[in-house]
């Protein structure tokens, strides 16, 4: 069962994306038939390890990558395969905040120039209005107007990330994708930026896709959580649900409620730890059974609004149930 599209701001269906891999001629599947909805006025958290496809998914939704297949529907229009020119009207609705604040700004332009670019490009302001608009934007993210004439290297990471938020807000988008937006920030400033995200979402009512590997941050900020494992969405549900009653073995591992064997299994890169047939988590999963090898699990709703892609998740769903470990099942 798949999420119903009606309530979605952005509806993503069966989105796949492959990159040319090494050696030449092979393809690396960064996203494998991911389907999810981003609802209006929600912060959707996307968690997973590095390499799980979180960033790729974010960029694909913003059409910084062209998906190999699947659809991204906004306002009833599929933008998955649109060209750069046709995308332009959608651009102002979709903005992004990047992980590295220092790299998010052209080192040769002042903060003021960086903030006026989107307004000018989308013709949202006349030149004369710019100083005022920039000042408003800077104040909105808690920065003084004098930063307008500063260069990016003169600002700290925390300040720059605030400017990045201001730049995204300049176009009054419907969706902001924030990619590890606080992971490069120092601990002492992280709290402030997290608060800012929370405030802005509450004030403007925009939607946010918040990509992070930090579960605590995700729990603090997000309404719903999606878990990616090697290009597959394995679990998605309300944040509280996912954290208190995770359904997928991988989610449990991430949350530390299920111990993985403490060795190097699957850690040597050249040994493909990711299974290419059946369930991708197969090789690492302590609960894997023959069915996992044979058939790829699809997302299913085991509780209301809580979907999981695991053949054995049903065994968890009942309160107090604990599935037996794989050795026992196959024995």
């Amino acid at each position: 069962m798949k999420p119903t599209p009606s309530a979605a701001l952005v509806a993503i269906r069966d989105l796949s994306l492959s990159f040319p891999g090494k050696p030449a001629g092979t393809w690396f599947k960064a996203l494998d038939e991911v389907s999810l909805d981003i609802r209006p006025r929600e912060i959707l958290g996307l968690v997973g390890e590095s390499g799980s496809g979180k960033t790729t998914l974010g960029k694909a939704i913003l059409r910084l990558h062209r998906p190999s297949s699947g659809s991204i529907t906004i306002d009833g229009r599929d933008i998955a395969q649109l060209g750069e020119r046709q995308l332009k009207p959608f651009r102002r609705d979709l903005q992004m905040i990047f992980q590295d604040p220092a790299a998010s700004f052209n080192p040769r332009r002042t903060i003021g120039q960086a903030l006026s670019q989107p307004l000018l490009t989308q013709r949202l302001a006349r030149r004369a209005e710019l100083p005022e608009r920039i000042e408003t934007l800077l104040r909105r993210v808690g920065l003084p107007a004098r930063f307008s004439s500063s260069f990016p290297h003169e600002l700290s990471g925390g300040q720059l990330q605030r400017v990045a938020i201001a730049r995204a807000l300049a176009l009054a988008p419907a969706l902001i994708v924030a990619d590890e937006a606080v992971s490069k920030l120092d601990v002492s400033v992280r709290a402030g930026v997290l608060n800012l995200f929370k405030d802005i979402q509450a004030e403007t009512g925009l939607s946010m896709l918040f990509i992070t590997h930090d579960l605590e941050v995700a729990r603090f900020l997000c309404h719903r959580i999606g878990v990616l494992y090697h290009g597959r969405l394995v679990e998605i549900g309300p944040a509280a649900e996912v954290f208190s009653r995770p359904l997928h073995p991988y989610t449990k591992l991430l949350l530390g409620t299920l111990d993985a064997a403490d060795d190097d299994s699957g850690d040597i890169r050249r040994m493909q730890s990711v299974s290419n047939s059946g369930c991708r988590y197969l090789n690492t999963c302590p609960l894997a059974i023959d069915l996992c090898r044979e058939r790829r699990p699809e997302l299913e709703a085991l509780r209301t609004g809580h979907l999981v892609a695991c053949h054995r998740a049903g065994e968890w769903a009942a309160p107090g149930a604990v599935p037996r470990r794989a050795e026992q099942t196959s024995a």
Binding site: Q159, V187, S188, V189, G192, K198, L253, L254, G256, I268
Partner: protein, 332 residues
Amino acid sequence: MSDVLVDIRQLTAGFRSQGRTLGIVRGVDLTIERGEVLGIIGESGSGKTVTGLALLRLLPENAEVQAERMVFDGQDLLTLDDDGFGALRGARLAMIFQDPVASFNPAKRIGWHLHTIFTRADEAKARSVATPWRERARAILHDVGITRAEETIDLFPHQLSGGMLQRVLIALILALEPDLIVADEPTTNLDKLVERQVLRLFRDLQRRLSAAIVFITHDMATAASLCDRIAVMYAGQIVEIGRTRDVFEAPSHPYTQGLVRTSLALARGEGGRLAEIAGELPNPSQLPPGCLFEPRCDKAFGRCRVERPEPFPGRHGRAVRCFLAEMEQEPS
């Protein structure tokens, strides 16, 4: 015999650049006891890494390091020449760096690294080992939880993941059997799952070698799970030091208080807003005249703006650089 392994007084360090010297570490006092795990926490630019590198005399050429006293196990490090120091490194002092991938010679196989380290360790301990190096390598890789040791020996560093490489690094340290290990953010570049495993290894390592570990990190949770004592650095100074439990349960310095509040709120999954520490780290070339934390401190008062506080000692080796702490301890 004293339990103090390292005794440092008034360590300052900075870098010469374009004719000026930019101070990074500003008067650090530190004692490390045998077998203890000392966590140094602080954000980037606080001088924690430079402190670690200064301890092993590994700073680049344009660095300027001064100290009143630097003693390692009764040996005065300040008067030791470079060759003498070189003999200490690897034999009694060792360091683990943040980026495991960059810590390996990319042109050489894992086995070569192990072999080189065995040679170095045997030379330092003035012993000869009959066991073939490959066997030793296999054994020590097993010790750090690498099951495919035989294969791993013949791989190049780039063929291993960061987590694996960090394990191998730990194996190298195991082979060297030093008395003091400085670990500079060894888990920061690792995924959460791998981090958990590597931290466990660190605990193992410390138990097996009974070596002292200086564990540098910016992550409060990591520090809390591993360390006996915690030193909190801010702008090149230790602003608070004490037993881990003391520091986390009753942070005394406003900066520590801020950090602990945030991380606790996150760890407990509390909703609402997080406590913030406003402002930014001071620019090293434009330090405030008084307390270095004063511009960001919501508890600052007049004295903080003009006078720089010294560390005020407390119970159980606690020391805090804050006039408030002084007032608490000296009831007037």
